[in-house]
C-alpha cells in the first residue's frame, strides 16, 4: 500500500489480487492435486483394466457392465450399505433429537450427561471401539450376559451376534446409533436458539407440550434436521472400520457385513482390479450426489426458513 502511494500509481490488478492468491494457494494446489486430478483420473481408470502393474488398457464400459450384470458381491454390498444407511441414520438422528429435547428441559448435571452421551461419538470411529463392539456382541459377551440376566435362556444367550449372518449387520447399525453425540449437540445448540417468547405465547393460548413440539420446535429445527441428515448419510455411505474389524476383512459370514467401502478395498487393494474399483467409486459418487440433490430439492417442502 505504502509503496503504491509513493510511486504514485493506482493499484494494479495484481496488487488487488496478490494477497488473496497467496493465502488461497495451498488450498488451490491441494484441490487440484489431491481432489480434482484424482477424481478425473479415476474416472478415466474406470474405463480401463488397470491393475497397478501394467499399462492401463481401455475396456469401454465393461467394468460398469460387469458390476451391474455379473458381480453378485457388488449387488450384495449395495444392499448391505443401503440397509445400514436407511436404518442407521434415521434412528441415530431420532435418538439425537429426543435426547437433545430431554437434556434441554433443565435437568441437573446437564454438562455431565451431555459429555457422557457425546463420548461414544468421539471414540466411535476407532479400531479400539470396533474391537470392543465385537466382544460385546460375541458369544458369551455383554449382550448374551445381559439377556440371561433379564431372564432369557437357551440358544439366544449362547449366540454370537457378530458371526450370525442374520444379526451381524444389526450390530453395526447399533454401533452407528450409539454414536449420536454430534448430531445431538447440533440439535441442542439449535433448540437453545429458539426464543422463549414463542413458547410463552403458545402457553397463553393453551397449547399442550405435544402441540408446542410439532408447531414450534420441530419446524424451527427443520434446517438443522436437513443438515444433519445429509452429513450423516454422506458419512454412513463411507463407513469402513466397523465393517472391517467387527464383521471381518472379507465381508463377514455370507457377506452380511460387506460394506460398499469394504468391497472397494477388496476389489482395489486385494484383487488389484483398480479399474473396477474406480468404477465403483464413481458409482458411489453419483449415488451420493443424486441423493443429496433429491433431499435438497424436496427440502423446500418441509424445511422452514425464517425469512
Amino acid at each position: 500500500m505504502k509503496k503504491v502511494i509513493q510511486e504514485g500509481r493506482p493499484p494494479t490488478w495484481w496488487d488487488k489480487n496478490k494477497f488473496g492468491f497467496l493465502f488461497i494457494a495451498p488450498w488451490f494446489i491441494g484441490f487440484m492435486v489431491f481432489n480434482l486430478y484424482p477424481m478425473l483420473y479415476s474416472l478415466f481408470l474406470s474405463f480401463t483394466n488397470f491393475n497397478l502393474f501394467d499399462v492401463p488398457k481401455s475396456v469401454g464400459f465393461s467394468n460398469y457392465i460387469f458390476l451391474f450384470t455379473k458381480d453378485v458381491r457388488f449387488f450384495e454390498s449395495v444392499v448391505v450399505t443401503l440397509k445400514y444407511v436407511l436404518f442407521g441414520v434415521p434412528f441415530q438422528l431420532l435418538i439425537a433429537l429426543l435426547l437433545a429435547l430431554a437434556l434441554n428441559k433443565g435437568i441437573p448435571a446437564l454438562g455431565i450427561f451431555r459429555a457422557v452421551y457425546y463420548l461414544p461419538a468421539l471414540l466411535g470411529g476407532s479400531v479400539a471401539i470396533a474391537i470392543l463392539w465385537r466382544q460385546v456382541f460375541d458369544i458369551n459377551g455383554l449382550v448374551d450376559h445381559f439377556l440371561m440376566l433379564i431372564g432369557f435362556s437357551g440358544e439366544i444367550v449362547k449366540m454370537s451376534w457378530v458371526t450370525n449372518p442374520n444379526t451381524s449387520l444389526s450390530t453395526l447399525i447399533i454401533l452407528r446409533m450409539w454414536q449420536f453425540g454430534s448430531p445431538m449437540i447440533i440439535f441442542l445448540a439449535g433448540i437453545k436458539q429458539i426464543p422463549n417468547e414463542l413458547y410463552e405465547s403458545a402457553s397463553v393460548d393453551g397449547a399442550t407440550f405435544i402441540k408446542k413440539f410439532f408447531h414450534i420446535t420441530l419446524p424451527i429445527l427443520t434446517p438443522i434436521i436437513l443438515f444433519n441428515t445429509i452429513m450423516q448419510i454422506v458419512s454412513a455411505f463411507q463407513a469402513f472400520t466397523p465393517a472391517y474389524i467387527v464383521g471381518g476383512s472379507t465381508g463377514g459370514m455370507l457377506d452380511s457385513t460387506l460394506f460398499y467401502s469394504l468391497y472397494i478395498y477388496i476389489v482395489g487393494f486385494t484383487n488389484f482390479k483398480m479399474g473396477v474399483a474406480s468404477a465403483m467409486a464413481w458409482i458411489l459418487l453419483l449415488v451420493v450426489a443424486a441423493l443429496t440433490t433429491i433431499i435438497f430439492k424436496t427440502s423446500d417442502r418441509w424445511v422452514y426458513y425464517d425469512n
Partner: protein, 278 residues
C-alpha cells in the same frame, strides 16, 4: 407438583440411558485389569482380582514391534498433521472470508462441495500417484496432503469464525500500515484461537483414529501405528486373549480421553458452529 414428578422421571430415563451408553466402555476398562479367566465369567465392573498382566503382556508388542514404537509413530504423524492442518486451513479460511481475489466465489463453492466428496473417488488415483512417487510405506501420503488444506471442514470452520471477527480491527491495522500478512498473524490468528483449538483437536482425533489410509499405505510392521498394531493383535491373538486386546484398546483411547476431559468446551463449540462430526 406435577412438573417435578415429570422431571424426576425424565432424569431417571436420561440417567439410565447414559449408563447404557457408557457401560461397554467401563466394561472394557474394568476387564482389562482382570485375569483372562475372569473376564467372561464375571461381567460386572467390580474387579475382584486386580492384575496388570494384560498391560505388561500387551505392551511388549507383537512380531517384533513394541506398542511404544507404534504409539510414537502415531504421535509423530498426528503432530505433523495437526500443525499442517492448522496452518493451511487457517490461511484458506482467511483468504475466503477477508481477502479479495479473482475466483473467490468459485473456490468457496468448490470447498463446500469437497466437504461432501466420498473419499473413495480420490482414493485409487492418490494411491497410484503416491506409489509412482515411491511414497508407499512412508508417512508422506498421510502427512503431505494436510499441508494443502485438504480438510475442508476445518477451512469452513475458519471461514465461519473469521467472519465473526469485527472488520474494524483489520481496517485499523491497515491504516497503521499493516499488510494482509501482518493482519493474519497479528490480529486474525490470535482472535481465532478457539477455531484453532477446535481444528487441532478434531484433526488430531481423526488422524489418531484413521484406519483406512494407514492400512493401505503402511505395510512395514516397524512403521505400524497404534490402529494397525491393534489390528495385528486381533489377527494374531486367539480367542483367549481378550484381556490383552482390551488393555491395548484402552491405552489407544487415552489421548482422546485426555482431550475430551480438558477441551470439552471447544469440542462442543466446534460441532455446534460447523456441524463437524466427532
Amino acid at each position: 407438583m406435577k412438573t417435578s414428578s415429570y422431571k424426576i422421571v425424565l432424569f431417571i430415563l436420561v440417567f439410565l440411558g447414559a449408563l447404557i451408553m457408557i457401560y461397554p466402555l467401563l466394561w472394557m476398562m474394568a476387564s482389562s485389569f482382570k485375569p483372562e479367566s475372569l473376564i467372561f465369567k464375571n461381567q460386572s465392573l467390580l474387579i475382584s482380582q486386580f492384575t496388570l498382566d494384560n498391560y505388561i503382556q500387551g505392551l511388549k508388542g507383537i512380531g517384533g514391534v513394541t506398542y511404544w514404537q507404534a504409539l510414537k509413530n502415531s504421535l509423530i504423524i498426528s503432530i505433523f498433521v495437526v500443525a499442517a492442518t492448522v496452518l493451511s486451513c487457517s490461511m484458506t479460511g482467511y483468504a475466503l472470508s477477508r481477502l479479495q481475489f479473482l475466483g473467490k466465489k468459485v473456490c468457496f463453492i468448490l470447498m463446500l462441495i469437497s466437504m461432501m466428496l466420498p473419499f473413495h473417488v480420490t482414493l485409487i488415483s492418490r494411491y497410484i500417484m503416491f506409489n509412482a512417487m515411491g511414497w508407499v510405506n512412508t508417512y508422506l501420503p498421510l502427512i503431505v496432503p494436510s499441508l494443502f488444506a485438504i480438510g475442508s471442514f476445518f477451512c469452513f470452520l475458519y471461514v465461519q469464525f473469521i467472519r465473526g471477527i469485527p472488520k474494524e480491527l483489520d481496517e485499523a491495522a491497515k491504516i497503521d500500515g499493516c499488510s494482509p500478512i501482518g493482519i493474519f498473524f497479528r490480529i486474525i490468528m490470535p482472535l481465532a484461537l478457539p477455531a484453532t483449538i477446535s481444528t487441532a483437536i478434531f484433526s488430531f482425533i481423526w488422524n489418531w483414529d484413521d484406519f483406512f489410509n494407514q492400512l493401505i499405505y503402511i505395510n512395514d510392521p516397524r512403521k505400524f501405528t497404534v490402529t494397525l498394531l491393534l489390528k495385528m493383535y486381533t489377527d494374531a491373538l486367539s480367542q483367549s486373549h481378550f484381556g490383552i486386546l482390551f488393555a491395548m484398546s484402552s491405552i489407544s483411547l487415552i489421548p482422546i480421553f485426555i482431550i475430551f476431559l480438558t477441551c470439552q468446551k471447544y469440542l462442543v463449540e466446534g460441532i455446534a458452529t460447523t456441524g463437524i462430526k466427532g
